[in-house]
């Protein structure tokens, strides 16, 4: 028995897509009307095939899982102990899969640095030999419940943050943030870079792990929610979140069984790093999105990631496939001494923040970020408002004060991106195209549209297949 029809019982409220005439006739009769600024989309039939109950249900499940994620920072551990599938020969990297030959400068730099750090190769040449001999196994972080900013190089002995999604029970991982300037994630591999990584491994990692365990876990959902109201978007701006994290950890760090100088050094490093929280937030986003991944037929994007050569996306209903296109070069501001010719194409897993409703999607609450492209707070709001047009829902945790505490646009829908042609807005740092130099600036970037077109085609094919089966 189909459900009852309620139309005749309730007062009318209308959405009008079509001529103004129909809308104004309703307005004249006192009916609330929301108009659609309609433009003819390409492939309307294929689009229509994906607006059906099966896809709606799948998307509701996937979105609910994403919105319900409750992430807790529970530990810091060596990658080899906790990251699934990690081995001594493995180097995880950012973005979709890529071969050494196709890697950009900063990606290669990060990998060479990681090999030097692990003691597997003493120099660039040795590292290259090792790689060409096939002795190193490359794999995307994303295939191991992990995310890494920029090059994202992650190896066995590196300490990783352990974030647990208490709702779904899954965990996600990310390395510790090294700060700005010459750092491994930007492809720098000089001795001081390696020394810092060793200090992380020997001192900072174990200390943070112990401190975090002593807190009983840090509620990242609440922390991010607070940071968003303090002007962070948790991608290019992490000042508030980093401060909140230090605030939560400092008492426990102070109480650790370490020399006072070492405790001071740890706190001073943390306090000096405005992006301390970036990797933590990324792992939190990954923990939420992994829970939403692999819901058959869902059109929700569960990863956007770049390896410095290609931009790739993954979609909940399309399993482990990547849909890739050429990575774009960000538009933005450069540090003194650098200019547009120095920037590498878009790189890093940090677009996981946008995928989860932060970063560029939350820019309206972080107007400082828009200044990278010479924008105003009004422009920042505009970016965020536009993202509601391509998302399935709104965050139930991250609310934007300038939008009267509306939840951030969350859950990118491939169907809406393809229909509107509006691409996700990503905030990002820029790496120098040569390895070893580091960050040269920050700005805004978009994915290439082709990623979404390819994913869309795959979704349409999958739907047609499912429809055939049910027929």
């Amino acid at each position: 028995m189909p459900p009852e029809i309620d139309l005749l019982r309730a007062p009318l409220g209308a959405v009008v897509v079509g001529p103004e005439l129909f809308a104004s006739a309703l307005v004249a009769q006192g009916i609330p009307v929301r108009r659609v600024d309609w433009r003819p989309p390409g492939s309307p039939e294929a689009l229509a095939s994906l607006w059906c109950d099966a896809v709606d249900t799948a998307n509701r499940i996937a979105l609910d899982r994403l919105l319900a994620a409750h992430q807790i920072l529970v530990d810091v551990r060596p990658a080899i102990e906790v990251v699934p599938g990690m081995t001594r020969e493995t180097i995880l990297h950012a973005g979709p899969p890529i071969a050494w030959e196709d890697m950009s400068g900063p990606m290669r730099g990060g990998i060479v640095g990681a090999l030097i750090y692990e003691g597997l190769a003493p120099s660039w040449q040795d590292a290259e030999r090792l790689v060409t001999r096939g002795a190193v196994r490359f794999d995307p972080c994303h295939h191991h419940a992990a995310v890494g900013p920029m090059a994202g190089a992650t190896t066995a002995s590196m300490p990783v943050l352990v974030v647990e999604n208490r709702t779904a029970g899954n965990r996600a991982y990310s390395t510790l943030n090294e700060g700005l300037g010459k750092v491994l994630r930007y492809g720098a591999y000089a001795p001081d870079v390696i020394d810092r990584l060793c200090w992380f491994r020997d001192v900072v990692g174990p200390a943070l792990g112990e401190a975090i365990r002593r807190t009983g876990g840090i509620d990242l959902r609440a922390l991010i929610a607070q940071a968003v109201q303090m002007g962070d978007e948790c991608h290019n701006r992490n000042r508030a979140a980093s401060a909140l994290l230090i605030k939560a950890l400092a008492p426990e760090i102070a109480g650790l069984d370490l020399p006072a100088t070492e405790r001071r050094r740890i706190l001073a490093f943390a306090a000096s790093n405005e992006h301390l929280f970036l990797n933590v937030g990324m792992a939190a986003c990954k923990a939420g999105l992994d829970a939403a991944h692999k819901v058959p037929e869902s059109t929700l994007v569960t990863a956007m990631a770049r390896n410095g050569t290609e931009f790739g996306i993954r979609v909940s209903g399309l399993g482990d496939q990547w849909f890739t296109g050429p990575a774009q070069t960000p538009q933005g501001l450069y540090f003194p001494g650098f200019g547009p010719g120095d920037a590498n194409p878009d790189i890093g897993d940090s677009a996981i923040t946008e995928t989860a409703g932060l970063g560029g999607f939350a820019m309206g609450g972080a107007p400082a970020v828009v200044q990278f492209v010479g924008g105003t707070p009004a422009d920042a709001l505009e970016y965020t408002r536009l993202m509601y047009e391509i998302t399935l829902g709104e965050s139930t945790a991250y609310r934007l004060p300038p939008l009267d505490f509306r939840g951030t646009p969350t859950g990118i829908d491939v169907r809406l991106v393809v229909q509107t042609g509006i691409l996700p807005q990503i905030d990002t740092g820029m790496a120098h195209r040569e390895p070893g130099i580091g960050q040269v600036g920050a700005g805004l970037v978009k994915p290439p549209r082709v990623c979404f077109d390819l994913a869309f085609e795959a979704l349409v094919r999958a739907r047609a297949g499912a429809a055939d089966v049910s027929r």
Binding site: P2, P3, E4, I5, D6, L7, L8, A10, P11, L12, G13, A14, V15, V16, V17, G18, P19, L21, F22, A23, A25, L26, A28, I31, P32, R34, R35, V36, D37, W38, R39, P40, P44, E45, L47, A48, W51, C52, D53, D56, H70, D219, R221, A222, Q226, Q229, E382, R385, E389, T396, A397, P401, L403, D404, R406, G407, L416, Q419, T420, I422
Partner: protein, 482 residues
């Protein structure tokens, strides 16, 4: 004094926001204190100091929201808790005063318009199914004005809608009146007890405005789209509409209006209508099959209106014949130039569509492709009017004018230049213009004013389309129009 509390797990709010909500909830009569705090250590100790979080209250962590109320009675306390929840989840959108990105898709607009329950879709046919499906995904009923939607898409939309308890009115649905609100081309009619279901837009307009003119009123008028009674669609929307009107207490009689239906579907639909146990009037133009017992079958739209008025206890007044007009004496052909498809169809059946008579429906898809409907833009018909005057075999021109929302703001005025031109070419003894105005005294254009202007232009104005067609026929046969 009563204490009541609740915990909202895992939801962070800014403390300033919480203070505002608490202050607003404190305004309720009988409420002495409201505390809304995060379950952090300071938050909990604050509650403890105020003796508002007794030991039996649930455990709470720093990301839980604690709501606590002290009030005169238990009922008041719970009302205050509900008020806090309401204030916390109240729409966070800035509302229309703030400038906003316009919605680019029906999906987005539907999500933004919390009070919406229907989507009006009037985009080119090739795109219409996408928007209609998005509306259904958002749980909206659909008024689908677009034409050019495939029969397969129509059937798929309607099946999906039925399974979700939603109505798809259309495609090619010109008219509906839901709860007194007109959608598309609709006339302003009195609310009353007659429910109308129609596969034809102008058919519904004619029936509803005649019901109004006869002193009765309309509960709802549900459009179904011209092909709903096609075998491939199986009357899905009509059957849902019957069910909805059966359940509607305001509706005391049901009128079903249709273009030529599939006999099998017509039978199914009429049987379902009888089961409503409400009086049923069926005007299925061109349907020659049997009608089940209990259905009053009528052949014309004005009979449908007057029969329904009679069945709901209204005094049935006869619609007036036109003020006497002299027979032109010039026998000849009737040229029907119509804006309304069903009106054209009805007139053709009365006059006889074969030569020398000729009928043109300017609302048909071939005339509306890429241009507005003649109810909005009469230019195409105006040209045909002048052409008809140039044809010496034509003795009577038969017209409809449609008033109401979305129609031309002054249809008679728009007709004036063409009629003046007709008169310049043919004298009134030689060529008669017969017209019917679909509309009511409440329509923005004003029925009386429109009819009066038409008479001033020398037209014979009839109270219904049926009367107009009969008048035209009589004149063409050289009989007196009355």
């Amino acid at each position: 004094m009563r204490l009541a509390w609740t915990v909202r797990r895992n939801s962070y709010f800014d403390s300033i926001d919480l203070m505002r909500v608490a202050e607003q909830a404190r305004q309720l009569a009988g409420v002495t204190e409201v505390a809304v705090v995060m379950g952090t250590a300071p938050g909990r100790s604050m509650l403890a100091e105020a003796a508002m979080w007794p030991p039996e209250a649930p455990e709470a962590g720093p990301s839980d929201l604690l709501i606590c109320v002290r009030a005169s009675t238990e009922t008041v306390a719970h009302r205050a808790l509900a008020r806090v929840e309401e204030l916390l989840s109240a729409s966070r959108d800035g509302g229309p005063a703030r400038e906003d990105v316009v919605s680019r898709t029906t999906a987005s607009a539907a999500r933004r318009a919390a009070s919406a329950n229907i989507a009006v879709v009037a985009v080119p046919g090739a795109y219409a199914a996408l928007d209609a499906h998005q509306a259904l995904s958002a749980g909206l009923h659909v008024f689908l004005f677009s034409d050019g939607v495939s029969l397969a898409d129509e059937a798929a939309l309607k099946r999906r809608a039925r399974d979700r308890g939603l109505l798809v009115m259309g495609p090619e649905c010109g008219t509906a009146i839901i709860n007194g609100v007109g959608l598309g081309f609709a006339n302003r009619v009195r609310r009353g007890s007659i429910g109308v279901i129609g596969a034809s837009g102008t058919g519904i307009q004619e029936v509803t405005s005649l019901v109004h003119r006869l002193g009765a009123g309309v509960s709802h008028a549900i459009g179904t789209g011209g092909r709903d009674l096609h075998a491939a669609v199986g009357g899905l929307t009509t059957l849902q509409a019957i069910e909805a009107l059966a359940a509607d207490v305001a509706t005391r009689a049901v009128v079903v209006v249709s273009k030529p239906p599939s006999p099998v579907v017509a039978d199914t639909v009429l049987r379902a209508a009888v089961e409503t146990r409400k009086p049923v009037v069926a005007c299925l133009l061109g349907y020659e099959g049997a009608t089940p017992g209990g259905v009053r079958a009528v052949a014309t739209l004005d009979e449908a209106a007057s029969t329904a008025v009679g069945l709901t206890g209204g005094a049935v007044r006869a619609l007036g014949r036109p003020r006497s007009a002299p027979a032109s004496g010039a026998r000849g052909a009737v040229r029907g130039l119509y804006a309304g498809g069903s009106l054209c169809d009805e007139a053709r059946r009365i006059v006889g569509g074969s030569p020398p008579h000729r009928f043109v429906d300017f609302g048909a898809e071939e005339y509306t492709r890429g241009r507005p409907h003649p109810i909005i833009d009469p230019s195409r018909r105006n040209a045909a009017l002048v052409d008809a005057a140039d044809d010496p075999s034509v003795a009577v021109i038969l017209l409809d004018l449609v008033l109401g929302d979305c129609a031309h703001p002054d249809p008679t005025g728009a007709l004036r230049p063409a009629l003046t031109e007709v008169r310049a070419r043919r004298g009134s003894r030689d060529l008669t213009v017969v017209a019917h105005v679909v509309g009511t005294d409440q329509d923005p254009q004003g029925l009386e004013k429109q009819e009066e202007s038409l008479r001033e232009l020398g037209a014979i104005v009839c109270a219904s389309n049926r009367i107009a067609a009969e008048t035209a026929r009589a004149l063409a046969e050289g009989r007196d129009a009355t």
